[in-house]
Amino acid sequence: MAAGLPPAIARWAASAQPLRRAVVLLLVGTSYFAAAKLGLLLAIVHTSATAVWPPTGIALASLLLLGNQAWPAIAVGAFLANITTHGSVAACAGIAIGNTLEALVGAWLVRRYARGREAFFSGLDAFRFMVLAGVLATSVSATFGVLSVTLWGDATWAKFGPIWWTWWLGDMGGAFVVAPLILVWSTGPRVPWSEWTRARAVEAVCAFAALLLAGQAIFGWLAPVGSDPVVLKFLCMPILIWIAYRFDPRTAATGVFVLAAIATLGTVRGALASGPGVLNESLMLIQVYLAVTAMSTLVLAAAVHERTQAERALRATSDELREALTEVEAFSHAVSHDLRTPMSTVYNYAAVLEEDYGGQLDPDTLGRLRRIRASVRSATDLLDELVKFVWAGNPTIPKRMLDMTALAREACAELVVATEDGSAVQFDVGELPPAHGNPQMLGRVLYNLLSNAVKFTRGREARRVAISGRVEGNENVYSVVDNGVGFDPRLGDEMFRPFYQANPVRFAGAGLGLAIAAKIVRRHGGRVGAESDGTSGARFWFTLPEGGVDEPVSRGPAGR
């Protein structure tokens, strides 16, 4: 059978210099002619109808690779192959028209619905290719061809049915076995040599050895005497699935081709003794067998390829994202550190000036001097919060089971020390269900929610902040309830957005506390929310999945 069109030649042809094009077309025509002559050797039911017709695959692949304008090569090749074998000029012309139309219709359908030459790199497209080009388009050639030999040749109408079936199955075999082989070796992503490790090469050799052995056992010299080949035929399926699953579409198409060659040769050899009628029937059955095998194997290989590509793309994207996030974090730390140092200097020197000359300044000037310090301090606070906001997005933090009650108590204690009025608030910490997460991050969530609650009870009588938790379905719900001023119920989730400030004048802050909390909770696979009637306090809550979400890759011991 004819060799596939090597990619270098296809590219060369695409560069479209007339002479080169002519050479390529000549090559296609010759391959077609040679493959057709080979197929016609097995023409039994009628001198022009054979159950083995690889030219269909060559024609289809050539049109897909070179474009429709390559059709004359096929028409001429088909006509010459037939006229030199048997039949009238009219009959041979009819057959040639049918063969050419089959390829044109198949190529058009595949281009329109199955991504053209790339069909065997996607499961769905591979399936569509098989149905459109292999099953539908081949009926064009069968109908044209059988009509031609019946009208202008020596075939009788009585034999129309059997000849048509043989014709159709032969073309289908070519479309299923030969076209994919040429297409996948000419196009599509190449597997880099670096991926062919020694182990993989050994595995490929083993798989093909197993295929050859099984093929021989079923169709060849190794076949047990008197065995039923129908049952044994399916021995090859697991091996082809192995090849399709572990390697790429190219290897799979090669495997299918190898099996087809063994099966066809074996069938011819085995059935020759039994007479031509039996041979044709055997060859038809083998075509059906090969069609089913090719379809399963190639669709699987294409689907596996698709999945591998998708995985690779996903991994690349996620690596890039992770890298970008790490960079942003490192950058924010650097900026924070580098800004903080000069800001401290401004702050300290303003303080030094006040210390040394404060007594000699009028109240206005002294006030302005103090404003310098206050401004620097609030800028530093904002910087702090920004760094924390970036840090809260870190995807690589290590997680473990946490005692949330202890974490909440720590946060309360920290709050009492850190704020001027924290000690004026009564904290009630209930029993909280344990959660899976990062201690610094979930500690920060609790601290930020508690600090928010403390802030909004400012100026109220008998300030109280309660934190409680319970298991609800498959998640833990934690609530921070205060008796502060509350918020407008219409606000909803607005408050969890970065830089949102309820009342910047009355309750100072960078406006990032709740946004940081929300970001951390979402990173842990949970949700946040808030409720208030607008007068008698608020409830801020967050959930965490009961068992915890999957562990991300830890970035090492430094992460604690």
């Binding site: 730390h333 924070s336 903080r340 140092t341 401290s344 030094v352």
Partner: protein, 150 residues
């Protein structure tokens, strides 16, 4: 000869050093404050530089206030060298930094820091936190005996 307990300030920020020294002076802390402006110089003073010899004239250090991020030899590296050497293994080291990152704090303690102080903006008087930190080691803590070069 100053017989007060020695405090070694290691920091590359001249402005910070000015404020820190002024604050310690004003607080009348009875300490002999020495200053080095980078990690290499600090190691030299501690007799930990390559080929360095044990200080001949004893200068008793009770604490090193060590900046975390410095050009050249950083605070972590200086701390590691201090802990590696038999003679200075027990020397109290307080990490002082503008960073309050959990990772920095954790790594400092993992490397054997005795304390970690964030350079904050004191509302009472400038450099107040340096005095607060140093006072504990100078006045309250019973130090191990560690000598350095004068």
């Amino acid at each position: 000869m100053n017989l007060f307990p020695g405090v070694l300030l290691v920091d590359d920020d001249e402005d910070y050093l000015f404020v820190a020294r002024r604050a310690i002076e004003r607080a009348k802390l009875r300490a002999d404050v020495r200053v080095t402006r980078d990690g290499e110089e600090a190691l030299r003073v501690l007799g930990l530089d390559p080929g360095g010899v044990e200080p001949a004239a004893p200068y008793t250090l009770v604490v090193v206030l060590l900046d975390l991020r410095m050009p050249g030899l950083g605070g972590f590296e200086v701390l590691r060298r201090i802990r590696e050497n038999e003679r200075t293994r027990e020397l109290p080291v307080v990490m002082v930094s503008t960073s309050n990152l959990p990772d920095d704090v954790a790594r400092s303690y993992a490397l054997g820091a005795n304390s970690y102080v964030v350079k904050r903006m004191d509302s009472e008087y400038p450099g107040g936190f340096v005095v607060d930190a140093a006072r504990y080691w100078v006045e309250l803590n019973e130090p191990p005996r560690v000598v350095a070069r004068s």
